[in-house]
């Protein structure tokens, strides 16, 4: 019998529908794989019962002849940024430890409605702030990948590192991710899987713990372009509860998949040739051009002149929004409450309300979260707002305009996802800035709200996967997916991490 853990979304869905295996068999296999992979630390909590209940419902529906949903029988991992009814939701922070929402995020609800089940809540960088999955209160996530001949634990990328690790390790066929400045694409690239961030507003943000509201977008992470198309179709859609939700129909992305790129122009942004980019990455980029050309596309040079400024603009805007979004974690209505000892330090006046806030937030937030809250508070504070925040929003407008102009000359943009392959856990923590630079290629599309995807391309000399990024026009997820499919078919990426966990 086939090892059900090796199957992707489409194969599971089709197999369940066709009766090749039952949804319960799939759920049981994956629950077991999850239980066996504690060493990855990909999950904060596991929910095998949720997966089984969803599977049983699908099997029952099939038995009674009902039409099955797009994700029927597919158990997935849920990034622990999505509120799940009755299941602890923490954003990987101490401040939300034990928080059990009495509501379900729109995206997770849509997935359950489509027949998916939940294997557990996936670890992530705390409040999605990080690019290596080392800022979680619940410990680092290890990538299933290792350098050839090394036992060093590697970063699965971040912030959706639990998601990338689980999908790459075949303990989940797919997982949800969220992308604020590359948090789907960078971990996907690091772990040799696919991940797409749709156009801003495609997936509802309702019930997703906010990091930076104007940037946050949910999206699927899976092992193939087809699987991403299927799962994105189930996640996306207009939600009246989110004012920034796009009031548009969800296209049949899966049905319209086509790797025939004849008549399409692929733009190569010259400013993405940056110093510090690995030669292997540059080589894979060249390879990507050749693959797309082979698929019928015309390759054109485009310019995105403000690329260099996207990352610094992001590191003003995202922390500014975060400093405000995270103000609600104050120990009053949910989560951690810490009362300072009377007579000690700043709490000397007793355990007043403001002292409680300061103590709760000091104890509840990790270092990276505090750092970003402080940056955000500073750039919004009296006298600095225009110099930092307003200037950053103007630069952001210029970054978006760059893309608009580029898309007059091309249909989709091809670029590397990251400047380097994955790195060992603990190797990049000396200076927060070096870590930030990891998102240099991912952030521009985030600032402009564009659909963008990472697909695996090749393996570098260390045996680590490298990803290529595709960026499309607003609402043109199809163009991104199709170009991704063309690369997937030509790259023939079949490498798998060896099981060590």
């Amino acid at each position: 019998m086939t090892d059900l853990t090796q199957l992707g979304v489409k194969d599971i869905r089709d197999g369940v529908r066709d009766g090749t295996f039952t949804a319960r068999e799939v759920a049981e296999s994956l629950n077991a794989a999850v239980a066996d992979a504690a060493a990855l630390n990909a999950f904060i909590v596991t929910t095998p019962d949720h997966a089984l209940a969803a599977a049983d419902a699908v099997d029952a529906a099939r038995a009674s002849g009902e039409t099955l949903g797009a994700m029927a029988g597919v158990p997935i991992g849920m990034k622990d940024l999505f509120a799940t009814n009755g299941v602890q939701t923490t954003a990987a922070s101490h401040i939300l430890e034990g928080f059990t929402p009495r509501y379900e995020s729109t995206v997770s609800q849509k997935l359950w409605d489509a027949g998916a089940g939940m294997l557990g809540k996936l670890n992530l960088d705390q409040f999605a702030m990080g690019s290596s999955n080392e800022t979680s209160y619940f410990g680092n996530v290890a990538s299933p990948w290792r350098k050839d001949g090394s036992n060093q634990p590697m970063s699965p990328g971040g912030s959706s590192g639990g998601s990338s690790s689980a999908v790459a390790a075949r303990i989940a066929p797919a997982a949800t991710g969220t992308d604020t400045g590359g948090s789907i694409r960078q971990p996907a690239a690091f772990t040799g899987i696919c991940g797409i961030k749709p156009t801003y507003g495609r997936c509802s943000r309702w019930g997703v713990v906010a990091f930076a509201s104007s940037l946050d977008q949910a999206g699927p992470m899976a092992r193939s372009v087809e699987d991403c198309a299927i799962m994105l179709g189930a996640m996306a859609g207009f939600d009246p509860k989110d004012s920034t939700s796009l009031q548009m129909d969800v296209p049949d992305w899966e049905g319209a998949l086509s790797a025939d790129l004849r008549g399409k122009r692929v733009g190569i942004p010259r400013e993405y040739r940056m110093e510090g980019t690995d030669q292997a990455i540059l080589d894979s980029w060249e390879q990507g051009k050749a693959w797309l050309k082979d698929a019928g596309a015309e390759i054109v040079d485009v310019s995105l002149p403000h690329t260099k400024y996207a990352l610094p603009a992001y590191y003003i805007i995202a922390p500014a929004e975060a400093s405000s979004n995270l103000a609600r974690y104050d120990g009053v209505r949910y989560g951690l409450r810490d009362l300072p000892e009377p007579g000690s330090g700043a709490g000397a006046s007793g355990s007043g309300l403001q002292d409680m806030y300061a103590a709760t937030r000091a104890a509840g937030f990790g270092d990276e979260v505090k750092r970003r809250i402080l940056i955000g508070t500073y750039v919004l504070s009296a006298g600095f707002y225009d110099a930092y925040y307003t200037q950053a929003q103007k630069v952001r407008a210029l970054v978006a305009r760059d893309f608009e102009r580029a898309f007059e000359q091309c249909d989709v943009i091809l670029a590397p996802t990251t400047p380097t392959a994955s790195f060992p856990l603990g190797s990049m923590n000396a200076d927060p800035l070096t870590m930030y630079l990891n998102d240099v290629f991912a952030v521009p599309a985030s600032l402009a709200g564009l659909p963008a995807m990472s697909v695996p391309a090749t393996i570098n000399a260390d045996g680590l996967p490298l990803g290529l990024q595709l960026v499309g026009r607003p609402f043109d997820e199809q163009g991104v997916l199709n170009a991704g499919l063309a690369i997937q078919q030509r790259a023939g990426f079949a490498a798998k991490p060896e099981k060590w966990w």
Partner: protein, 100 residues
């Protein structure tokens, strides 16, 4: 612009994050590194550019004025609202006494 320890202390207090001296001192160079780096934005000529107001050009949708139209965004669910409260008594959230 660069920050000193006193500024970091003021910002931390505005953000309601208690920080001991050592932590403040550690933060100073980190924040300055980031601030110095983001200040390259000053180079960009933004003459005539409006700050971005909406990521995807769009304007605000308005909701009908109906009470509890959707239970997910309506009231009448005190138990759910108080369920995770560190202190809840008699239907209220409890906080350390405030003197106004």
């Amino acid at each position: 612009m660069s920050v000193d320890k006193a500024t970091v202390a003021r910002i931390a207090s505005l953000a309601r994050i208690h920080m001991e001296d050592a932590e403040l001192e550690r933060m100073v160079p980190e924040l300055n590194g980031i601030l110095e780096w983001v200040e390259q934005l000053g180079e960009v000529d933004v003459t005539g550019i409006e700050p971005m107001a909406a990521v995807i050009p769009n304007s605000l949708r308005l909701r009908d004025d109906v009470v509890d139209a959707d239970p997910r965004t309506g009231g009448g669910r005190r138990a759910d609202v108080l369920a995770n409260a560190p202190v809840a008594e008699h239907g209220f959230f409890g906080v350390p006494k405030v003197i106004e």
